[in-house]
């Protein structure tokens, strides 16, 4: 009995050891990049030789990078607006619909997210070329919206399924019209899910590369495309500074999610 107890402790210890290793693996690369972004030398070399904010100052004086960032922010907003406008009503139909093929509808809507992004990007590029529509910020935005709409639909649907239908019934019993009960009861209750979905769709619009690289406009190159080029061609802490800004953005998004639906609900 004592032998197996010893084995048990060893096994669980090893498991926790691997878990801690994995967590360190997730955290450390980001920390190192942030540290390197303050280095005084003009090339990446560990450990850093000094401390400076110089790269951040230079970052904001790079018109190309700033332009790309602005383009990506716009794409993120367009994608989010499209996903809310198209996705929220779809979630309503998927969760409450009692028409024939209601189950098929949710599968259909979730399908584009299952297709590899690169395949969707190539397909949209070719379809555009066939009808004479070239790549542009609009083509990029609508493709990305189609790609990530599933996230919005899923988040809102999960929330809808947990809503008590009696709330809306009570409203209509008290004489509220459908619009009134939707506006004053359903929509406020759905808001956290919509906001959380919006965070994810914005991030996808801002960061996505697989769809973006085939559909973006040549004049307004978005940040991921610009970053890919810069990372491949330069070795200065400037890239570390851009990366640190993106990490900061992710932390802000994280705070937004934990304030809206809570971190532990991300999966639902």
């Amino acid at each position: 009995m004592r032998g197996s107890d010893w084995l048990d402790r060893l096994g669980i210890g090893a498991l926790i050891g691997v878990a801690l290793f994995s967590l360190a693996l997730l955290l450390l690369p980001a920390v190192i990049v942030v540290i390197m972004s303050f280095d005084t030398r003009g090339y990446i070399s560990f450990p850093p030789a000094g401390f400076t904010f110089d790269w951040y100052a230079r970052l904001f004086n790079q018109p190309v990078l700033m332009g790309a960032m602005w383009t990506s922010i716009k794409v993120g907003v367009y994608v989010t607006v499209l996903c809310i406008a198209l996705g929220v009503p779809t979630a309503l139909a998927c969760a409450r619909g009692d028409f024939r093929g209601a189950a098929g509808l949710s599968v259909f809507v979730l399908l584009p997210h299952m297709v590899p992004g690169i395949v969707l990007g190539v397909a949209v590029l070719f379809a555009g070329a066939l009808f004479g529509i070239g790549p542009s910020i609009w083509l990029q935005s609508i493709s990305l919206a189609v790609y990530v709409m599933a996230v919005m639909v899923r988040t809102v649907m999960a929330r809808l399924q947990k809503l008590d239908p009696l709330l809306e019934q009570a409203a209509s019993n008290l004489g509220a019209t459908r619009w009134q009960s939707f506006r004053t009861i359903t929509l406020p209750l759905l808001m956290p899910a919509i906001l959380a979905g919006a965070v994810f769709t914005f991030i996808e619009g801002f960061d996505n590369l697989s769809v973006t690289i085939f559909t973006h406009g040549y004049r307004d190159r978005p940040l991921p495309v610009e970053l890919l080029t810069i990372v491949q061609n330069t070795n200065s802490p400037l890239v570390a500074a851009v990366s640190s800004v993106q990490i900061l953005l992710a932390i802000l998004a994280l705070l937004a999610i934990s304030a809206t639906i809570g971190l532990d609900r991300v999966n639902d």
Binding site: D5, D8, G11, I12, L15, I16, V18, A19, S22, L23, L26, L27, P29, A30, V33, I44, L82, P89, L92, A93, A95, G97, G101, L105, F108, V109, L111, P112, M114, V115, P116, G117, L120, V122, A123, F126, A127, A129, G132, G134, I142, M149, W179, F206, D207, S210, P224, L227, L228, V231, A240, S243, Q246, I247, L249, A250, I257, L263, D264, D268
Partner: protein, 301 residues
Amino acid sequence: MTATALPRRLLDEVLSGRGIWPAVPAVVVLTVVAVIPFCILLSLGFSDITVSRGVIVSQTFSLRHLATALSDPLYQITFQRSLTLALSTTALCVLLGFPVAYLFLIGNAWMRRIILVLTIAPILTSGIVRTYSWIVILGGRGVVNSLLIDLGVISAPLRIINTQWAVIIGMVQVHLPIMILPLIAVMSRHDRRLDEASANLGASRLGTLRHVILPLSIGGLGTGAALVFTLSYTTFVVPQLLGGGNYLNAATMIYEQIVYSLEWSKGAVTALLLMLSCLSVLAVITWLTNLGTRWTRASQR
């Protein structure tokens, strides 16, 4: 019916969500931007096309590109490499991810919070940024080489970046959160009274892990594995940045065919093969997941 009644009724219909109406705009957009383009991609895989100034001007039926691709040894090597890379990435993510989920299960509220933050934050960060951090770590003057030289283990920097080792390390780290997230979802629904019952019946913690927790996590493992495989099989960021351009996988191949050499028909064929092979592996993963669930149910009887 008065003039104001019709819009009001339409609005009611839409808001009730009982009919298909609210979903119609989305269905139209999805059809135009996903279904039709996909059919066009399919047709281009079986065509000879002429492209002029980014517009397809002629298209005739041909099996030439498909036949070339299927007999080309470069295709075979590339797809084999992508498949090996993605499958090893998936396996390593399972091995590294499951212990984190276990720690989440047994951990207190603080540990759970830390795990959630460390898992979700990377998902919200760009893949390029996360891959770039490995250039900083594994590069010639990177963290690993500097530490090894300072410790006197090596005298000259090792060449780690631009090798397949760099690619696999990057792949695993970039996709690990996608593996952990579905597992955490399973763990947060896990009823800990089952573990107590198992312990009361005399099982060790490892025994409980093997006979209670693991069988109940198979669904999460399947979901995670499917997601990690799809993403790592079809990414070109990691191989492009950490493989130094010499490490061609199927996705980088598509990118080069379409963006650099403008061979669109070839690119269409490669994209179709990528998708078909991806779906086949996903079918196998789903089958294995179902088999695993059924097997554990049977053994518990």
